[in-house]
């Protein structure tokens, strides 16, 4: 355990009275509540936390928040909870936290992969493309190694035990960012009475106010943190405000739909996490108006050897100093191109560091800064550049040369020792969310960066996100933005008066941006990093441009610049500038890469929220479900439904159960839960006309009490659904649809009624689940119905096929249909679904003397295939006409127009070589064809590929009733091939010879044809 040598005596949002113990890279450390892993490691003088992606060079802590490109670690060693690519600058510490260095083997400090660095010349931009454009073998050979070396961190090895949630919220004003501008915006809108959500990415409100010297800056006579606390308290007291910390706005979508990602308990030890709260939450916010107060990030400088641990953004160094009470270096060298870095230098010096010098690319420095530097005794190097750095695992010094007029360097080399190199290339507004909102960016020449330009959605940017860098301006602009947003949301508001600011420091002025800072070295010996996470150097980008990748989007992908988990937050602007420089184009013309959602990595778990495991998807169950479950049912999903596929008895195989069930449905009686069939109540004086237009057959003469099978087509003439429709009264029909087609059919029918045939008086209402349905099949079925039902004589001689009637069971009304999908004598009993479970019990009880069996969907499929009935979606696939099914009999020639009619006479649909539905019988009756297998014309597969194919098997079963295997297939000109010998391909064997037959196998058996 080390003693936090870099911890300052006071200051910051940390609680020094408590000690937090954690492990990193197998070593024990301590910190305090309020620390991030980064601040705690820096307190312990640990700068190196990772190794680079490509070259495995040592990597340190570069930023202080989500902008940090490279300080990524693996959190937790528990296989289920481990989290890769966690930014040490964002992860707060807790007792027992374990962090592991990633991308290192065998250890952080000694890593074998570091040899890549010696071969860096062989890993140029486009390495993957170049290597794998060649023969396939290249990829095969390289893949195992690449897979091992690529990627950062390890995925969890066990299911995630934590809970996640998503929540939908609406508000008048959403404020993204809790810095000075965001706080004033939220306060203003909230005081006006608007519903406000304020989202702050870090653990505390305040933004950059937490990174300034509290002894120097005052807001309304309060220290910055005290002012922030007073505003936070005021907001917390209003019930129209939701303040979310540890919550990042990660995506700006259409019509002010903004995604927020809240890390609810990641900062707590697993045992301290509230059991009732999710680990993370996604807030799906729909805001009337949005204020983007997302702040700015500091820009790195691009110079030779700018990647060592201990090289850090100057602003980050100040954040560690003031927010976390940690001095990240004792001897600090500052490398700058703007005024704000000078303020950083003075600040670090007053905070206890010794500033070894300020190197500034600019020659002309403001007199005030020069005199302050002199007061502090800081040596200065204006018009100079750092041309190299030293230090193996931590920067130990840098070399400085004067810039020449021609843009190079000249004169003597000065070596300066340091243990922290604070760099600042100026500040860039955080424009990602603005650009995601599809607003247009403006390239600001003074800023040398992009800032928000023309808005597209209902948003405005405020504070440093809008390139307003002085504190007073940020506060005022925030208040104005809050007032504007609330007013535009319909709540008149006046900007709150901001506190008087004292002691504010100077903003950055005009930075001098040099895309690649000269080092005086030969071009091929310069290693200046643009993107620290992806290990992209200036050389890579220039090579990409040389090779013709002159679109920034292409150059990005070719080099992977900005493609890491940080999405190039600090790297991108330098990449744009370098590419523009190489192309000799203005930067606005080069443009930006696309700022896509999410702005920072969001866990998949948070996206999925509560809709996982038990709650992943609804599984619809029938009123009889409990009975099925307790009677050995094996279920299958049909659409969203869960249907009993077969009822296995103890020790019985699935196949045996299906045989038993199907035989009962043929020879005695069996019952199917048919409740899932779609049902539509159709009513109105034009109901018949409507049915005539939506089905292929005629409905004008169907009398009340009768039912008819119908086939429904799309306008393309292809079969889309089928079912039986019963006439209840002259103007009243009960339509059934397939289980999976119910919703689609109702929408299809409503479409025609609402938009096409608006003159027809027809109303439709779904009654699918109003009715529970028991379908009884088999010669004894009528006896069971007779026993059960009062007010009906189901004797098949008297109660005709395709008729229906009402009856009662113990006084409960039912509707009985005599219809059959098995080819056997069959009845369907419909009862109000509340009675469904009871009906099923009654059926089983009444059927017991006849040996009734429940049968599942597998037996149902087999039974209907024995009769040659089709299943829409199994025999058909959206390319099948009634004629293709050889069901021309159901297409009325006499009646008028119906949906799909004209398409049945299109040149394509009348082709005689279309595939048609036929039966197939294998010559060896014990052989089963595979569904989907190809039907071919030859006994062996011809050598030339592809094999000409006549069609495919759609259904195949082992039928105990027929006493052999049976199959149906769609075969080219199938109707004309009766009796023909064809073959069906199979994997790993010779094609199976089959005979083409009709599809009604029951009739064939009766006729002795099989």
């Amino acid at each position: 355990m080390t003693a936090q040598p870099n911890r300052r005596a006071s200051g910051g949002l940390i609680d020094r009275s408590k000690v937090v113990r954690f492990r990193f890279d197998g070593r024990d450390f301590s910190g305090h509540p309020g620390d991030t892993l980064a601040s705690a490691l820096l307190a312990n003088d640990e700068h190196m936390v990772a190794r680079g992606f490509k070259y495995h060079r040592p990597r340190g802590i570069f930023g202080a928040g989500s902008e940090d490109p490279t300080a990524l670690v693996q959190i937790g060693s528990d296989a289920a909870r481990t989290d890769p690519n966690t930014r040490v600058t964002e992860q707060e510490i807790y007792d027992g936290l374990e962090a592991l260095a990633q991308n290192v083997w065998p250890s952080l400090k000694f890593d074998v992969g570091a040899v890549n660095d010696l071969f860096s010349a062989f890993l140029p931009a486009g390495f993957y493309y170049k290597t794998f454009m060649g023969p396939l073998g290249n990829w095969m050979a390289f893949e195992p190694f690449i897979r091992k070396a690529a990627g950062l961190g390890k995925a969890p090895g066990a299911p995630d035990p934590d809970r996640y949630e998503s929540i939908n919220r609406h508000c008048d004003v959403l404020v993204a960012g809790g810095g000075p501008a965001g706080l004033m915006a939220a306060l203003t809108a909230a005081k006006a009475g608007a519903r406000v959500i304020l989202a702050e990415e870090t653990a505390a409100l305040g933004g950059r106010l937490l990174s300034v010297d509290p002894d120097k800056v005052n807001l309304g006579d309060m220290a910055p943190t005290a002012w922030v606390e007073s505003i936070a308290a005021e907001l917390a007291g209003m019930d129209n405000v939701t303040v979310l910390t540890r919550t990042a706005a990660f995506g700006y979508y259409a019509q002010n739909f903004v995604g927020l990602w809240e890390r609810v308990s990641d900062h707590l030890a697993p045992n301290d996490q509230p059991a009732n709260l999710p680990r993370q939450r996604v807030w799906r916010v729909r805001a009337r108006e949005v204020v983007l107060a997302t702040g700015a990030v500091e820009r790195p400088l691009v110079f030779h050897e700018n990647d060592r641990p201990g090289i850090m953004l100057a602003g980050a160094a100040r954040t560690f100093t003031h927010r976390y009470g940690v001095l990240p270096g004792k001897r600090v060298l500052v490398f700058a191109n703007n005024d704000s870095a000078w303020e950083a230098a003075f600040d670090l010096q007053s905070s206890g560091a010794r500033v070894a010098g300020i190197v500034d690319l600019r020659r002309d420095i403001d007199g005030g800064l020069l005199s302050t530097a002199a007061e502090h005794g800081i040596s200065i190097h204006p018009g100079a550049a750092i041309v190299g750095t030293s230090g193996a695992q931590r920067v130990s010094g840098a070399t400085v040369r004067r810039m020449s007029d021609s843009g190079g360097v000249e004169g003597p080399v000065t070596a300066i020792e340091c243990d922290l190199l604070a760099v600042s290339g100026g500040w860039m507004p955080n424009i990602a969310l603005f650009s995601q909102s599809r607003g247009k960016l403006v390239y600001d020449e003074d800023l040398s960066a992009f800032r928000p330009g023309q808005s597209w959605q209902k948003e405005r940017s405020a504070g440093s996100a809008a390139a307003t860098f002085d504190l007073d301006g940020c506060l005022k602009e925030g208040a104005r933005a809050g007032a504007d947003a609330a007013s535009k949301a319909g709540i008149p508001a006046k900007a709150e008066r901001p506190p008087k600011v004292e002691g504010a420091e100077r903003p950055q002025g005009t930075p001098r941006v040099i895309p690649e800072i000269p080092s005086g070295r030969p071009r091929h010996k310069v290693r200046a990093w643009i993107d620290l996470q992806d290990d992209v150097t200036t050389k890579d980008l220039k090579l990409a441009v040389n090779e013709g990748y002159d679109s920034i989007e292409h150059a990005k992908r070719y080099t992977t610049s900005g493609m890491g988990t940080d999405q190039g937050k600090v790297a991108n602007m330098n990449a744009f500038a370098l590419v523009a420089d190489a192309l000799k184009k203005p930067i606005w013309q080069v443009g930006t890469t696309t700022y896509r959602q999410p702005w920072k990595p969001v866990t998949f778990a948070a996206m999925a929220g509560q809709h996982v495991g038990d709650h992943f998807h609804p599984r619809r169950v029938t009123p009889m479900h409990d009975w099925h479950k307790s009677n050995g049912a094996v279920f299958e999903p049909v659409g969203d439904w869960l249907r009993a596929r077969a009822y296995q008895r103890p020790g019985e195989s699935f196949e045996a159960a299906v045989r038993r069930e199907s035989l009962a449905a043929r020879e005695s009686v069996a019952a199917l839960d048919a409740s899932t069939l779609g049902k539509i109540d159709i009513r109105g004086k034009d109901a018949r006309t409507f049915l005539n237009r939506v089905y292929t057959n005629a409905w004008s003469k169907l009398a009340p009490g009768k039912a008819r099978y119908g086939l429904m087509l799309g306008e393309d003439g292809m079969v889309m659904d089928d079912g039986v429709t019963a006439c209840l009264a002259d103007d009243h029909f009960h339509m059934t649809t397939t289980t999976g087609g119910a919703a689609r059919v109702l929408t299809h029918l409503e479409d025609y009624i609402q938009t096409e045939w608006t003159d027809l008086e027809v109303y439709m209402t779904t009654v699918t689940e109003e009715w529970a349905v028991a379908s009884l099949s088999g010669p004894d079925s009528w006896r069971v119905v007779a026993e059960l039902c009062d007010g009906i004589d189901p004797d098949p001689e008297k109660f005709e096929f395709m008729s229906h009637t009402t009856a009662t069971i113990d006084g409960v009304p039912v509707r009985v249909f005599r219809i059959s999908f098995t080819g056997a004598l069959a009845y369907e009993i419909n009862i109000a679904a509340d009675y469904g479970a009871w009906l099923w019990d009654k059926v089983m009880e009444a059927g017991q003397p006849y040996g009734i069996q429940p049968y599942g969907t597998e037996a149902m499929h087999l039974l209907r295939a024995e009769k040659g009935f089709v299943i829409v979606g199994q025999e058909t696939d959206g390319t099948v006409t009634p004629a293709d099914l050889r069901m021309d009999w159901i297409v009325s020639k006499a009646k008028g127009d119906f949906i799909g009619k004209r398409s049945l006479s299109r040149s394509d649909t009348v082709r005689t070589d279309r595939k048609q539905l036929v039966g197939l019988l294998t010559e060896d009756p014990t052989l089963m064809l595979e569904e989907g297998a190809h039907v071919i014309a030859t006994a062996t597969e011809p050598a030339e590929k592809p094999v000409p194919m006549l069609g495919h098997v759609t259904s195949s079963y082992d039928s105990p009733t027929i006493g052999r295997s049976i199959a149906m297939a769609m075969v080219e000109s199938g109707g004309a091939r009766m009796g023909e010998r064809l073959w069906v391909s199979r994997k790993g064997g010779t094609p199976i010879p089959v005979k083409v037959t009709e599809t009604d196998f029951l009739k064939m058996r009766e006729d002795g044809d099989v």
């Binding site: 650009s435 995601q436 247009k440 992009f450 929408t747 096409e756 009619k901 004209r902 299109r906």
Partner: protein
């Protein structure tokens, strides 16, 4: 996700709705008299412009009514909703100059991410 204002239920999230294709495509009453090409034009061919488009939506999770919408497909801006049978209202929108061009703002596409210096700020 858009917000869609159902003419009957008011403004709701897009997840409640389903798109139902191009609007104002009448089903020919005289299908039998049409050539295959004419019929195919009705069944299979729909416009898919970049820019202003009249399309049908149905409020699937709400009132289940179909209605028409004018949407700028280049920017996803919804300009009007109106009932079935009504004529599309006159609207103005930022439209691409050519079928392959870009709307001046709102698409988020490469050509309009950044303002040109001469554009009014």
């Amino acid at each position: 996700m858009f917000l869609i204002t159902c003419p009957y239920c008011g403004t709701r999230d897009q997840s409640e709705f389903s798109n139902a294709g191009e609007a104002h495509v009448a089903r020919p009453a005289n299908g039998e008299e049409l050539t295959d090409e004419q019929w195919a034009d009705f069944v299979f061919l729909r416009n898919n412009p970049k820019g202003l488009f009249a399309e049908r939506w149905v409020h699937t999770a709400g009132c289940r009514r179909f209605f028409n919408m004018l949407r700028n497909t280049a920017t996803d801006e919804i300009l009007a909703v109106y009932e079935i049978g009504a004529k599309p209202p006159k609207v103005t929108t930022v439209e691409p100059a050519t079928p392959s061009g870009e709307a001046p703002i709102g698409s988020g596409n490469d050509a309009v991410k950044v303002m040109r210096p001469e554009e009014p700020k």
